[in-house]
Symmetry: C2
Subunit: 288 residues, 2 copies
């Protein structure tokens, strides 16, 4: 199978490396062509993908579009007439509602290729091709948000394909459900991490910290432009879980300020009970 990887950042670079290792023929496109050439030179890809979607290994059957959120739809619009019949495109953007809405215009019978919204649940606190690795997706979830009109053919193909890249499971859901859950499991973590590290005392932590401080703050090393776009593309869901967290933190603060041991203990018991009710998968994906 010929796999087109579009955008060679951390995610795209890792897609290219994982797909090449899995035996696929990988053709890569990047805004800066030199990065594509470097990926071919270092063995992460087989060929450079040209503007007309041809390459030395053929035209892609599957595209993994791993561009920044605001660049995905414009890139597809600009190249849409060059995709071959039957091609399947998957993006990798962290919010699905807005992209799936914008791409709906291609979800009709007169479009000879298929778009499926996607989000690989993997990442690192560092970015760029230099940090890409073929192991990034090992055991992770690949979330897909197809249109209801999408046939089983492309979805069965994608499920098998993403497993060859190392994903532990492929989850099919709606864009709305994805965005609601991701607000909690990823976006809120980035907000908290950034707010946490901005405590003035944080700069003096040396010698006073163990694992929990690092874990609470490491994802504050994010790309501010990308995450601003992602947050604002998912405003309602993110605001809802952020509001809930603030409310619970205020409850903790009140119990601490009033020295209410019973209430504090009860709050901590509740949190512990939730953790203990988590399925074994809770721990299965740890940080890269």
């Amino acid at each position: 199978m010929v796999v087109g990887v579009v955008g060679l950042g951390l995610i795209g670079g890792s897609f290219a490396k994982a797909a090449t290792r899995a035996g696929h023929s990988v053709a890569v496109w990047n805004r800066t062509r030199a990065t594509s050439e470097a990926a071919v030179a270092d063995g992460s890809a087989a060929a450079v993908l040209e503007e007309d979607m041809t390459s030395a290994v053929g035209s892609p059957d599957v595209y993994l579009v791993s561009l920044p959120p605001s660049a995905v739809v414009p890139w597809i619009d600009a190249h849409q007439s060059a995709f071959k019949n039957g091609a399947v495109l998957v993006d990798a953007t962290g919010v699905k509602g807005s992209i799936c809405e914008a791409m709906r215009k291609y979800a009709y019978d007169d479009t000879p290729w298929t778009f499926v919204g996607g989000h690989p649940m993997a990442g690192k606190e560092v970015s760029g091709y230099a940090n890409a690795t073929a192991d990034l997706f090992r055991g992770a979830s690949m979330i897909l948000t197809p249109y209801p009109s999408c046939g089983r053919g492309p979805l069965d193909m994608l499920e098998a394909f993403f497993r060859t890249l190392g994903f532990g499971n492929v989850v099919f859901t709606t864009p709305e459900r994805h965005d609601e859950m991701i607000a909690l499991t990823s976006q809120l973590a980035h907000v908290v991490s950034s707010a946490y590290i901005q405590e003035p005392l944080a700069k003096e932590h040396a010698g006073f910290s163990a694992g929990s401080f690092y874990d609470m703050t490491r994802v504050a090393r994010l790309d501010p432009g990308v995450w601003t776009d992602l947050f604002l593309a998912n405003r309602e869901a993110l605001s809802s879980v952020l509001g809930g967290l603030i409310e619970r933190l205020c409850g903790f603060k009140e119990a601490i300020d009033t020295g209410d041991a019973e209430r504090l203990r009860d709050l901590l018991e509740r949190g512990r009970a939730v953790i203990e009710s988590m399925p074994p998968t809770y721990k299965s994906i740890s940080r890269q």
Copy 2:
């Protein structure tokens, strides 16, 4: 050197294993004597420490008192006449102000042994002797908060001793400074983790989460009684950093709710700038 380890939970058990591996003669005391006997049987200690502070390997030169916060001072009060002349006692409690205040009565010339407040900056999200390991302290900080009247002799001895257990550095500071910093680097992380996991959607996270959700929530698996005591023993410092965090989170929420991209980006830039200014030690202690 004879090392007395008092209390065989996660920290005490790990102290015993690390000290035995370092070649010290380790005598252990535990409220439930069977655990002490098990530690001797499995090779983690050389002998059981009796109520009169004798053991088959002699009476301890150094005591590591690793009991729950509320049990430390009562245990020392009950055994204080049995410590041998020149013995040095170090506790392992996560808050230092209250314990160092309560122990001040022993900081005078007529007490033939020395107390030094201590806090090993290491841990796990699981507890108990069953999870103890000789490697727990590898590379971690050991914080000591001696009284101003304490001589260099015991402190030099402790610094060298804790390095034999695997600690990467030994930090000398005041109880007040310790408590202020620990409120940020450890206590606040536990509050946030517990509040985070209590979002109702958290139970449905399977398939939608990657490393950041796990990292944000893992320490919610804490001992509610112990942490209630620790939080309330450090109310002012914890309330201060918690209040600051809530304020910054409200700032994020306002920017998200009003769709203020510029402000949101600025907030994220600030967090990233702090992370990027961190010394290399920031990443050196990762979770166990």
